[in-house]
Symmetry: C2
Subunit: 147 residues, 2 copies
């Protein structure tokens, strides 16, 4: 179906939520899953893997929760998506050179490579400080319009 997984989407929404908090603030899963409308248990699992991958800092025990481990500007959309889905390749043939015996003949190969490169580049240009910024702008616009 060629669609990003829900897991990635949830991960991104969750991280964005954290990026919008005051720096270093610990939020807990319940709050985030409610705010972002993501199933609690699922989000918990997602945050576990994001923690293992080094994007989040987790604190256990009462008052515990999650916060970003890195500067939002240091985390790109691509990073998060790859953390969730593994390395992205549009096509089996792109996974490792040599997988496809037709490499040297098949002209579609080059198209995939180029399309993928552009796509990844675009995603890697988008970091969470930018996302947070534009989320704030959007929220403001909505508020202003309501007045």
């Amino acid at each position: 179906m060629f669609r990003l997984s829900r897991g990635s989407e949830y991960a991104i929404r969750g991280m964005l939520h954290l990026a919008l908090q005051p720096q270093g603030k610990i939020s807990f899963i319940d709050e985030i899953s409610a705010a972002q409308k993501v199933p609690r248990a699922y989000l918990a699992k997602i945050f576990q893997t994001l923690t293992k991958k080094g994007f989040l800092r987790s604190v256990r025990g009462p008052g515990g929760g999650f916060a970003l481990r890195k500067d939002p500007a240091e985390i790109t959309l691509l990073d998060v998506i790859e953390a969730m889905e593994g390395e992205i390749s549009l096509n089996e043939c792109l996974i490792h050179a040599g997988y496809c015996e037709m490499d040297s003949i098949c002209p579609v190969h080059d198209i995939w490579r180029e399309a993928q490169a552009r796509f990844l580049e675009f995603l890697s240009e988008c970091d969470f400080s930018k996302l947070a910024e534009s989320a704030r702008l959007k929220a403001k616009r909505v508020k202003d319009a309501a007045k």
Copy 2:
């Protein structure tokens, strides 16, 4: 996993095979599936749907087979992929406006829309006459190198 389906790949390889034949030449499934290393029965099914979608012309009975129905230059990669996978949208939220209640707030939405637009544009710029052309070039290069 964010990968194009094999179905699309096979479809593209099959169409490319046809695009490389002299115009109007009828090829049969057996020949194509052997040349492109695609399971015969599967390719047959794929060609059925490509026929229904108007990309191929099919001829039944002895000596029957398939040929392109349109000028190769009139068929783009995007056309074929969409024929196989349905309309592409990177994200559930992009399928129809209004699906996602967070449209007006979520900043990721715009990123998806843009990324998708670029991706689709790229694929729609690649038609089968170009592909055939570069396939011929590649084949020639391989042959020359073998000398």
